[in-house]
């Protein structure tokens, strides 16, 4: 575990994909994880509709209860952020939180990534995180490859292939 963890704001797309491959626990090795009420709502929407938790929403609930994810209320959302991302979205609230606390955006959303590129903010996708877990010797190459393959179809092939080549 690192001595100086980096603040990370997580959005629902990243959390859903990383939960799918059972690798969420490794986030704690690198990051202090923050999220927003809106992202929680997006994840818990599954429970609201179906009456039971999906794997990712259940994990999110556990992480919240264990204080491994810190939910933050936002002070303000600037007009500039509102112009770049969808109104009332998890991405919008997460981007505003990132601006407030600094750190890195953990996201699998194109709009959020573009926002980070345009504003010189750090952003990391779930697929790259998996590659990094292997490179940092936290998971085996086979596990990394298998996890990336499991995201095939969920994330565009060109992104997946870039990761597989990088292993």
């Amino acid at each position: 575990m690192l001595n100086n963890k980096v603040n990370a704001v997580i959005d629902s797309s990243f959390w859903i994909n990383l939960s799918r491959v059972d690798l969420t626990k490794y986030l704690l090795d690198y990051f202090t994880i923050y999220s927003t009420i809106k992202v929680k709502e997006e994840l818990f929407d599954f429970y609201e509709r179906r009456g039971y938790f999906s794997k990712d929403s259940y994990l999110f609930k556990l992480y919240l209860e264990a204080d491994f994810i810190i939910l933050k209320d936002l002070k303000e959302i600037t007009l500039k952020i509102k112009q770049e991302l969808s109104k009332d979205s998890g991405e919008l609230y997460s981007a505003a939180l990132l601006k407030e606390i600094g750190g890195v955006f953990l996201t699998d959303d194109k709009g959020a990534l573009n926002f980070c590129k345009n504003n010189n903010l750090f952003a990391i996708t779930s697929v790259y995180l998996i590659v990094r877990l292997y490179k940092d010797n936290l998971i085996s190459k086979e596990k990394a490859k298998f996890s990336i393959m499991r995201l095939k179809g969920k994330i565009s092939n060109i992104h997946i292939q870039s990761a597989l080549k990088d292993l």
Binding site: Y30, L85, G111, Y128, Y134, K154, I158
Partner: protein, 118 residues
């Protein structure tokens, strides 16, 4: 009994479509009107979804914008993207940006160890 918010419109349909509506009504134990409404709703949902997915890819939208166009939740939109499309539209550049971000924050690799990974 006819619901108040339904409007009456007449359309011409082929014999094969009429036969299909009849068969669906029997199979689902519905009236022919109910079966037709169900099929139209299903078709409209699919049309709206396909159009939202196309716009999502063409205009590089965020997931929420795509989901709003399709009239479904973000999670459902992610599922539909993988069912009908190529998944979330992340590029090689997005991968490279992630890599660069990580390396700026943590260096090229976090630690060197001989410990066997899990």
């Amino acid at each position: 009994m006819v619901k108040k918010d339904y409007k009456l419109k007449s359309y011409r349909l082929s014999d094969s479509s009429l036969k299909l509506i009849y068969n669906v009504s029997k199979e689902k134990d519905l009236s022919e009107s109910e079966a037709l409404r169900m099929l139209v709703d299903k078709g409209l949902y699919e049309y709206k979804l396909e159009s939202a997915i196309k716009t999502y890819y063409d205009k590089n939208l965020d997931l929420t914008a795509g989901a709003k166009l399709a009239g479904i939740s973000k999670r459902e939109f992610m599922e539909e993207l993988s069912r009908k499309g190529e998944g979330i539209n992340l590029s090689k550049e997005d991968y490279d940006y992630s890599k660069k971000s990580f390396e700026k924050l943590f260096g090229k690799t976090k630690k060197k160890t001989t410990q066997k990974p899990k």
